[in-house]
């Protein structure tokens, strides 16, 4: 069994409440942190090697050390709880079950950054989790863990939870800041970076829920200890939300470095493919990362086992690799239509594009339409080339990475599954659109 740093107590009855959370060591990390200097905390986070768990994998300690600290200007820590990347559901799982871990992490992070007011931005659809967090925040205020002079340290700290209203793009950190200011979620042109001019033009750090939570064990155990877990630059544990055609979908905390094959097939994790089927493909890090066929997700191009680390998953670049991304691990069995799955992704990106950049706004719409045409049985071989052409014209030409996030799934699907596209256009009767109906065991055939 791998070590559990974030989920160790997740199944303790009542761990949602402050009392039970404290009985299990809750807020000991904050207590310890308040006895340290802010810079020493940043140093521990640097030593831990923690990399942003929101998708980009940027080292958290380094991000914290970039925060501008002009005199007399308030700064903020903003937690990104927008979690909307298809395949990703780890943050929701954690916030719902152990809300105080996030509050403790926010308090430690804010103290380290010198932020006296911080915000948790949660996606609007999760209003029920918003209320869970609000309740936990109220409890923490009542116990003197938030508010004036927290734990008698002299540090004043206010924490608020803020809700969005349905927009994937608000997960992008500058769009999130705009949204938190009460505006449309249009990403900003960078620079200036949020570390210099973020929320209300003040220096701001935006961190993912899991990154913020990970700071708690890092402070408790020390950065060096944390860094002993994992492989190379992939240190510590990572939450993976696994879904699709597996026996045991769910959120798993893994030690970075376990083989992908073990993650998919071992009973400790996904428990293998449903109904005894064979594996066809995996999207390993949320819908935005390249899809890989079975042979490439299990093994590197040189035949060595692929590991669950930032480096191993991206080994081979986009020719034979992918990315760890947000940890949204989507598994597809042998009966899956990669083209239809891709269509749902392209429809998603088209729906979620904020529309500021033409290549993204128009390109996502075109890709959705061309895929729709192919699935409708009217595609041609030129359409497959057209898809390739459109996706290649988005990357690097947009304000934010949503454009790329829309292009990569298309590029990788064509790269690795071109024959499926070609089969669909040459022989429309082979199009498998409803290949999933029998999975709902009680479905009547006329509905399917």
């Amino acid at each position: 069994m791998g070590r559990k740093l974030l989920t160790e107590n997740i199944n303790v009855p009542g761990i949602q409440s402050l009392d039970v959370y404290r009985k299990h060591g809750g807020y000991d990390g904050l207590k310890k942190a308040l006895g340290m200097s802010p810079d020493a905390i940043v140093e521990e986070v640097k030593k831990s090697g923690l990399r942003g768990r929101g998708g980009a994998g940027f080292p958290t300690g380094m991000k914290w050390s970039f925060l501008a600290k002009p005199d007399g200007v308030p700064r903020h820590l903003v937690c990104n709880a927008d979690e909307s990347e298809p395949g990703t559901f780890k943050d929701r799982y954690m916030m719902e079950r152990i809300p105080h871990l996030l509050i403790e992490g926010m308090a430690i992070g804010s103290f380290a950054l010198g932020a006296n007011t911080s915000y948790i931005y949660i996606r609007g659809e999760l209003l029920y989790v918003f209320h869970i967090l609000q309740k936990a925040i109220d409890e923490a205020y009542a116990a003197g863990l938030l508010g004036k002079n927290i734990m008698g340290s002299g540090f004043d700290f206010d924490l608020h939870v803020h809700c969005g209203a349905g927009a994937y793009i608000c997960g992008e950190e500058t769009a999130l800041i705009e949204s938190l200011e009460g505006k449309r979620g249009n990403p900003r042109i960078k620079p200036p970076f949020p570390a210099i001019q973020g929320l209300w033009q003040r220096p701001t750090v935006v961190n993912n829920v899991e990154s913020v939570m990970a700071v708690v064990p890092i402070v408790k155990m020390g950065g060096d200890e944390y860094a002993k877990i994992g492989v190379g630059k992939s240190t510590g544990t990572k939450l993976i939300s696994a879904c699709g055609h597996i026996n045991k979908p769910g959120v798993y905390e893994i030690e970075l470095g376990i083989p992908v094959e073990e993650f998919i097939y071992s009973d400790e994790y996904c428990g293998g493919i449903r109904n005894g089927k064979d594996l066809k493909a995996v999207v390993a890090g949320g819908s935005s990362v390249p899809i890989l066929p079975k042979d490439l997700i299990l093994k590197l191009a040189n035949g060595e086992p692929r590991l669950m680390t930032y480096e191993s998953l991206s080994d081979g670049g986009f020719i034979t690799g992918t990315m760890l991304g947000s940890g949204g691990f989507i598994v597809m069995d042998e009966d899956t239509s990669v083209v239809k799955n891709l269509y749902t992704f392209s429809r998603f990106y088209h729906h979620e594009s904020c529309g500021q950049c033409s290549p993204c706004r128009e390109g996502t719409g075109w890709m959705e339409k061309v895929l729709h045409k192919i699935l409708d049985g009217h595609g041609t071989l030129e359409d497959v080339d057209l898809l390739w052409d459109i996706q290649s014209k988005i990357e690097g030409k947009t304000i934010c990475p949503l454009g790329e996030a829309a292009a990569w799934p298309v590029a990788s699907a064509i790269r690795h599954f071109r024959s499926e596209f070609e089969e669909y256009v040459k022989n429309p009767s082979s199009i498998k659109k409803d290949n999933h109906y029998y999975r709902l065991n009680n479905i009547s055939p006329e509905v399917a």
Binding site: E181, G182, I330, T344, V447
Partner: protein, 180 residues
């Protein structure tokens, strides 16, 4: 704003709004716009009329256009009347892999409407939505603030039956019991 049908929050909702506005620094009250629009949608029948949006603008001391441009950006805000129960079925990849298309088709057939439409009796609106961070318990749908997960057709039957039997007032994402 039309003075004759002036909309107004309940006292509870007004108090909640004031608490929310205080979460943001002096002069940054506009930040409370999205939370207040959720409350408005709960208070005013599940959707945002221009009167409702004008009212929110007045609470925040901002111009109505600042509210319209935000309300029209976010998918959770309904700018047209909707049924009392809005059924939002996730249809993104991970849910599709486990049969969300069948769920949508089944509900369409059961309620005799297409996705995007409202039943003639004003009870149900069916919407397809994008990933709701519930992919591990797919297929799933949301009604109001409630996530219904690991759906089967039988579960869908029960949920719809339950709505018909119990829902009187419009169900919004921000549940009325939280406005207190």
């Amino acid at each position: 704003m039309n003075n004759e049908n002036k909309l107004k929050f309940s006292n509870e909702a007004l108090a909640l709004s004031q608490r929310m506005i205080k979460r943001y620094p002096e002069g940054k009250q506009k930040s409370a716009l999205i939370p207040l629009l959720h409350v408005a949608q709960a208070e005013f029948g599940g959707w945002l009329s221009s009167d409702a949006m004008d009212y929110v603008a007045s609470l925040l001391n901002i111009t109505p256009i600042e509210v319209y441009e935000v309300a029209s950006f976010y998918s959770m805000f309904n700018l047209k009347p909707v049924g009392k129960c809005v059924i939002e079925v996730c249809h993104t990849g991970p849910c599709w892999l486990l049969g969300s298309d069948d769920i949508v088709k089944y509900i369409e057939k059961k309620l005799s409407i297409k996705a995007g439409q409202t039943t003639a009796d004003g009870m149900f609106t069916l919407k397809t939505v994008e990933c709701l961070a519930s992919c591990g318990t797919a297929p799933m749908m949301q009604i109001g603030e409630t996530y219904h997960e690991n759906l089967t057709l039988e579960k869908v039957d029960n949920i719809i039956h339950e709505c018909r039997a119990t829902v009187v007032e419009p169900v919004s994402h921000w549940s009325k019991k939280e406005i207190k």
